[in-house]
Amino acid sequence: MFANFDFDVIVRSLPYLFLDGMTFTLTLTALATLGGLVFGTLLAMMRLSGIALLSLPAAGYVNLMRSVPLVLMIFWFYFLVPYIGQWLTGAERPIQVGYFASSLITFTLFEAAYFCEIMRAGIQSIPLGHIEAGRSCGMPEFLILRRIVLPQVVRRMLPEAINNFVSLFKATTIVSLIAVPDLMYQVTMVIQQEMKPLPLYTSAALTYFAVIYVVAGLVRLASERWRNRIYA
């Protein structure tokens, strides 16, 4: 069954695959998470503001982003971003932004929609009584936010947010479609040269599995500890 499993091809292409490919995948994931966090917080604030002019567009954006496949979004932004750039800068021709910027913008905007929902759920899960209790103890609003609201919001959000990070890491495989040199794209390129799908796809799968298994395990451990500390 594994008679034609060629380990040599993995060793030969190792630096190319895992240094270049993995670095790119991780950079993209990390930057998109950061961007999504910032933009997502903004969206959550808009949705919770109670001002229809702010909350309706934010809700529409989140629902649109969440009902369209990521693949389609990648194609959208791949073609759309140059025109948006042209419109923003007033240039004569569509601006070429390159694959990295294009995929980073897509993932940031996509992640923002998901983070917005996580954040909103976290904030809404805090009982009003906690804030009232803080007030009746004479705490100033800022202190209530820092000592009562935020510690709980962060704890409730963290497992979900890291789960989201893990799914983003998995989802970045899709950028190989627009010839972005992430891990999966590099694997495909090597396969086209070497014609050996078996060892390469298998090792790619094992790599993703190992990384995600470890991260997901840590998340579970951390979230259990956090939960115990909330109710301790």
């Binding site: 369209v68 899709i174 799908p197 078996l198």
Partner: protein, 306 residues
Amino acid sequence: MNSFIAKMLASGPVITDGGWGTLFLEMGLGPGELGDTWNLSHPERVESIPRAYVEAGSEVILTNTFLSNRLTLAGHGLEGQLRELNEAGVSISRRAAGGRALVFGSIVGVIRTTPHVWLVRLGDAYVELFRNIPLLVQMFLWYFVLPELVPAAIGTWLKQLHYASFYTAVVALGFYTSARVAEQVRAGIMSLAQGQRLAALALGFTLPQAYRFVLLPMAYRIILPPLTSEFLNIIKNSAVALTIGLMELTARARAMQEFSFQVFEAFTAATVIYIVINIVVTFGMRALEKRVAVPGFIGAAPRAAQ
């Protein structure tokens, strides 16, 4: 179910989980003392009770194991004796019933510790495997790697299969989603009160019957909302199948754009279709939720754990 119980009773007295705490108090059980420990310390006192029941003609005999579960035993520092206490309790009642009884029952602690541990591990491995590999990679594995792994003749047949990418996509999406749904079903069952399982087993359901008639009907209702989003996910995830050459909606939009150079028209059409499908599914599932709701139960219950 009545005929089921009748059938069981026909073959002799039935033994189920229970306890005789009040009778023990009369016999000198100290306050705070755990009656189940008498299975080991005073078996003769325990045995006198079921024997009296049998002599009086009773056909349903309890075992003295009601509190022999992990939680209660841990409270008394006795969790190490879980198995011992349950086994002793059952064998006492069995002796009293003359050894010809069918034992059904909630030796829950024992069930959840030893016999099923490998099943549990197998399930965990399955979930971890399919949940932790990106869908795209899984599609490639099924499409490119599987034909190389099987014997050459089958491999060739697989490669030449008409519509192969469609079947591959169905299989890949199926396995990927099944792992996620498995997690939700587990969460749903765990969110049910433990008493439901115990009650089912004490009434003489076998474990599969308890799942089929008691636990799963409730669990599925509880996890309907997360199942809805899983349903929406699988629709979105189907777009990944374009990587193995399946001409689904996104791939068609892309082909349109390549032929006509009308990028925005093509992608707008695809986007609108996805949104419409989403709305239809969401409303359909909401209607289903309403239809299958158990009055006064699910509406008040909190949503299932993630």
